[in-house]
């Protein structure tokens, strides 16, 4: 009987400590972000850069499926990849999505949008 009492109290304790941690459900889906970014940094080539771009696209798709907000900066980073590839219309589309998702990014996103549009008129 004694043992049982101790056992129960320890179980309760364990349960409480677990409950304390359980409230941190994930706000965002970041997928393989840090892994593919790290690989691209370590060895920047067409393959590693493409993989990281795929990660960004996957984060956007998966966030939609899970009904989560796309993490900060993901639309903007993807837009910048298109910007560098001179695909300026697509770039502008993503900059706009970043600004719509996170109003506090608008100042910077508008700056990037202007740069993309300027490139378009030059070409």
């Amino acid at each position: 009987m004694k043992k049982k009492g101790i056992c129960i109290s320890f179980l309760l304790f364990a349960l409480f400590s677990l409950m304390g941690c359980a409230t941190t459900e994930k706000m965002y889906y970041w997928g393989d972000y840090s892994t593919t970014l790290y690989a691209a940094r370590k060895d920047a080539n067409d393959e590693s850069l493409l993989k990281h771009k795929n990660t960004l696209e996957n984060i956007i798709a998966e966030s939609g499926k899970r009904n989560l907000r796309v993490p900060p900066g993901v639309y903007g980073e993807l837009g910048y990849i298109y910007f560098r590839q001179n695909n300026n219309d697509t770039a502008v589309k993503y900059f706009e999505m970043e600004a719509r998702t996170y109003p506090e990014s608008r100042v910077f996103m508008e700056r990037l949008t202007q740069a993309a549009k300027a490139k378009n008129t030059k070409n």
Binding site: M1, K2, K4, G5, I6, I8, S9, F10, F13, K26, M27, Y28, W30, Y33, S34, L37, Y38, R41, K42, R69, P71, P72, G73, V74, G76, E77, Y80, Y102, E104, S105, R106, V107, F108, R111, L112
Partner: protein, 228 residues
């Protein structure tokens, strides 16, 4: 009438409380430590290129890949570092060292950032002592307002891993440690997981931002008081 079982129950609870409190470091609430965070309520954070005080030349580049995620989970808008670092490079800013004593208000104008985050890599190395070797990653973080130019939050995250394993022979722990040691010897890559833990230790002390459920509700949450 309380019986023996009750005493045992209460006794074991008391013991656990004692165990938890006895070795605890000095604690302070987030609101007492970082009152300016609750006053200014910054929403958007611009990560500046890390300042590297170590001799590991590649630490900076690898470390900077680890910050965006944890800060977003604390509820802040983080500007895409892959983009902002490029823009800063075009402006000739490769390192935040130069910015330490300069005004940061221009980052509000250009990016619309409420605050900038300075990170300093203090340690990123393995030290070999006669009987032991330790891997240490230590990061100082400092969040500075682009409005008031005041330091809103600063904290250190440090991780020390004992790599010696102490003659544990064929045990599983020994094997794991051995594989870590070889991995570290072969590639710098292996610092990154520890950098993530160091980040986590530092960033867990930051008051939650707008996108976190606990926004403005964590004033009484306790954190470890660090000596500056």
């Amino acid at each position: 009438m309380p019986n023996r079982q009750h005493y045992l129950f209460i006794g074991s609870i008391c013991l656990m409380v004692l165990l938890l409190t006895s070795c605890a470091p000095k604690m302070v609430t987030k609101a007492d430590k970082f009152p300016l965070m609750y006053e200014e309520m910054p929403v958007s954070i611009l990560l500046l290129p890390p300042i590297n005080e170590t001799t590991a030349a590649d630490a900076k580049e690898y470390y900077s890949t680890t910050l965006q995620e944890p800060i977003s989970f604390s509820g802040y808008y983080v500007f895409p570092y892959e983009v902002t670092s490029e823009v800063l490079k075009m402006e000739g800013i490769y390192d935040a060292e130069l910015l330490k004593d300069l005004s940061v208000t221009k980052f509000r104008e250009y990016f619309g950032a409420d605050a900038v985050l300075f990170t300093t890599i203090k340690k990123w190395d393995i030290s070999y002592i006669v009987i032991a070797s330790n891997l240490t990653v230590s990061i100082d973080c400092e969040l500075k307002s682009t409005k008031s130019e005041q330091v809103l939050w600063s904290y250190n995250g440090t991780v020390v891993i004992d790599l010696s394993g102490g003659g544990s022979g064929g045990s599983i722990a020994g094997l794991i440690v051995k594989s870590i040691v070889t991995a570290i010897n072969t590639a710098t890559a292996d610092y990154v997981p520890y950098a993530r833990v160091a980040n986590y230790r530092a960033i867990s002390s930051v008051p939650y931002g707008k996108y976190h459920k606990g926004y403005l509700q964590d004033k009484e949450q306790k954190i470890v008081e660090q000596r500056q």
